[in-house]
């Protein structure tokens, strides 16, 4: 599997998260300046240089559970809070959206165009905020610095990859998303997803750039001269691709995958039925032995160690965001979440490794946010307790 997949996975899932949060912040009528602050804080955490350095190191993909911990942290990078049910729903939506985008990418390399669509939108989130100008400028300045670093990372990692290597990245991403069939009402409405949770794969439209419209058999002699040409009925309804999407810093991406499909009038909901009868339970993650958990904890510690969560300046009161329409719905969702879709991290026993505990504790200390509901003796326990509580 490809060791260059994590940055793409992280950035695109992060982009989807921002789309969803943006929509919910508006739907819940959170005041504009607070909403913008939340998005800015998340964006600046995502593009923090130390974090980027960790992210771009060649490494295998970790489990959905491990990655969710990172997004939980990211979502709480600011004054906003999410209950577990809302965080679960957020993560479900993010993962299903990106799964859809990966599946429908015409060429494996087009996942870069999807990434650019997300990045273009992230730029947009920062740009249109006249109210907090000085904050925006500060973020912009910081981002310009990290932007260069980030784009350099992006280019170094993906600029020279072959079609075969992109195909491997695609397969790695699809492995990550295997067996995820959560139904999203927006997808169902748009006929992008079937009622059994599977995505619709259209057999019409433009072929990928570089592919010919199917339907022709050409036969040649030993000198290379074409001697016969026969058409056949392919069965699809394809047309030539009009143009190639741009991989430059600015440009027409052509591809719509990865652009923001949410709006205030198209709210986000998920159906938790998931269980199509063929859904194979992912038991392997639940029975994974401790060494697996340790590896993932190490990864999380490294990655989150690079995440600089800003301490809020001044007495900015926090608020809770609900991904559901009412609090009752949110409570109900928490109670009825199917077992196989639970993101409960396996019970990690407190490690004997005192030194590692201290290291984790130090990192957690740096990530401390203002309201700390848990009062426990050691910070190391906090991290593990937080994991258990997820």
């Amino acid at each position: 599997m490809s060791v260059r997949t994590l940055p793409l996975l992280f950035l695109n899932l992060g982009g989807e998260m921002l789309y969803i949060l943006d929509q919910r912040l508006r739907a819940q009528n959170i005041p504009g300046d607070k909403a913008r602050k939340v998005l800015h804080d998340i964006i600046s955490t995502m593009f923090n240089r130390k974090f980027m350095e960790e992210l771009f190191k060649p490494q295998e993909l970790y489990s959905k559970k491990a990655l969710r911990t990172v997004y939980d942290r990211l979502a709480h990078a600011s004054i906003m809070r999410l209950n577990q049910a809302s965080m679960d729903k957020l993560y479900d939506l993010m993962t299903m959206a990106f799964k859809h985008q990966v599946l429908l990418c015409p060429r494996p390399k087009d996942v870069l165009l999807v990434t650019f669509n997300h990045l273009d939108a992230i730029k947009g989130f920062i740009q249109d905020s006249p109210a907090i100008l000085h904050q925006v400028e500060e973020i912009f300045r910081q981002l310009t610095e990290v932007k260069c670093f980030f784009l350099l990372c992006l280019w170094q990692t993906y600029g020279g990859l072959s079609a075969g290597e992109f195909q491997l990245i695609r397969q790695t991403l699809l492995t990550f998303f295997q067996d995820l069939h959560i139904r999203v009402s927006l997808f169902l409405k748009d006929k992008v997803q079937n009622s059994n949770g599977r995505f619709v794969l259209p057999v019409s439209g433009p072929v990928p750039w570089g592919t010919e419209v199917p339907g022709l058999i050409r036969m040649f002699d030993s000198k290379g001269k074409e001697v016969k040409k026969v058409e056949f009925k392919h069965g699809g309804n394809y047309v030539t691709a009009p143009k190639e999407g741009s991989f430059e810093l600015y440009g027409d991406r052509v591809l719509k995958l990865g652009t923001n499909m949410y709006s205030v009038n198209r709210p986000v909901e998920t159906h938790m039925s998931g269980a199509s009868k063929n859904l194979a339970p992912r038991t392997q993650e639940n029975i994974a032995p401790n060494p697996l958990a340790k590896e993932e904890l190490n990864f999380l510690a490294r990655l989150m160690g690079g995440m600089e969560i800003k301490k809020p300046s001044g007495p900015e009161p926090g608020f809770r965001l609900n991904l559901f329409t009412t609090d009752e719905e949110e409570e109900q969702a928490a109670l009825t979440r199917p077992e196989e879709l639970s993101y409960e991290v396996i019970n990690i026993q407190a490690t004997q490794d005192q030194q590692r505990n201290e290291e984790l504790a130090r990192i957690m200390g740096e990530l401390e946010v203002t309201d700390q509901p848990r009062q426990s003796a050691s910070k190391g326990d906090d991290l593990l307790a937080m994991m258990d509580g997820l």
Binding site: V3, K228, F232, G236
Partner: protein, 316 residues
């Protein structure tokens, strides 16, 4: 015309790999074995002719150090003149079993170096297989590819008409044509054109190759001359299979389609010709494996990413 037959359920969905279906036909025992990779496990199912599943077994890649359990990259039955072996590959190495998967007879560990080992570095490993027992020996390492090898196809060298026995394909689209013997000899190299070649077949001295841009190309194996170019699919091809008795070729791709082609040699010119026989759409399924289920090509089976069943079709 083909019709859908009863599907065979799988314990786990098929992984998004190429060539992710292997079929072992056992007509004398009225049985067909199917092999599909799920991820860290591969599933073997035996079925009766009507598709009724009779037995199933799961195999795993050998554990080792690493973040997660190793993923299996391919499961394949190798039909040798005197025995059939089931081969399982992963990044850790190559595991060989008796054909029903009951006993592992050989394990070849690949060096984990920095990136990826063994066939990922482009090398082809040749093993000497005894008629019985576990005395399998690595006899040769062939260098011909610089990028990961995706598929290998062989055919028995028959008569003097064609000398090529084996063709190998890689991620860059390069094809290498070999002749077997006490040592393998590289006969021809057929360069790629910027897309991977995930699947390849060999029929009567003709190489059939499926590419990442949806093309199927047929070449003269001994010379590398291109004889046929088919704009067959709108997405990457994931599998090719041959029904050698009937000269039928099957191509399956991520565009949800499976196509069947008839190969022949024109009696006047001697050139390879292709005719389209049938196209089947598997709705909303990114096909990842497809095989004929009988030597005459009158039935075939398909697997798809995320699908926990083997779809079967037979001609009416």
């Amino acid at each position: 015309m083909f019709r859908r037959e009863r599907s065979i359920p799988l314990r786990g969905s098929a992984a998004a790999l190429c060539n992710n279906l292997s079929v072992l036909q056992l007509p004398s025992r009225n049985l067909t074995h199917f092999g599909v990779v799920h991820g860290p496990s591969a599933q073997l199912v035996s079925a009766a002719p009507e598709g009724v599943p009779l037995a199933q077994r799961q195999l795993h890649a050998k554990e080792g150090a690493g973040v997660s359990p190793p993923l299996i990259t391919q499961v394949h039955w190798c039909v040798l003149p005197f025995r059939v072996l089931l081969v399982l590959t992963s990044h850790r190495g190559i595991q060989m079993y008796e054909s029903d998967g009951s006993v592992m007879v050989y394990w070849h560990a690949l060096d984990s170096g920095d990136a990826s080992p063994g066939t990922w570095s482009g090398q082809i490993l040749v093993f000497d297989i005894p008629a019985k027992g576990p005395n399998i020996v690595l006899s040769e390492e062939l260098a011909g590819h610089q990028t990961p090898v995706t598929d290998i196809a062989t055919e028995p060298a028959q008569g003097q008409d064609y000398v090529a026995d084996m063709v190998t394909a890689d991620d860059s689209g390069l094809l290498c044509v070999w002749r077997s013997g006490p040592e393998f000899k590289l006969l021809t190299r057929i360069p790629g054109f910027g897309v991977p070649c995930p699947s390849v077949q060999l029929w009567h001295g003709t190489v059939a190759a499926g590419y990442g841009d949806g093309q199927v190309r047929l070449y003269e194996a001994s010379t590398g001359t291109l004889h046929v170019q088919i704009s067959a699919h709108a997405r990457a091809i994931c599998a090719l299979d041959l029904a050698p008795e009937a000269g039928k070729l099957l191509s399956a791709a991520e565009d949800t389609f499976v196509h069947i082609w008839k190969l022949s040699r024109s009696p006047e010119s001697g050139y390879t010709e292709v005719e389209h026989c049938h196209g089947e759409c598997v709705p909303d399924t990114q096909v990842c494996g497809a095989r004929f289920c009988d030597p005459s090509g009158s039935s075939f089976a398909v697997t798809g990413y995320d699908l926990a069943e083997i779809l079967r079709f037979s001609s009416v």
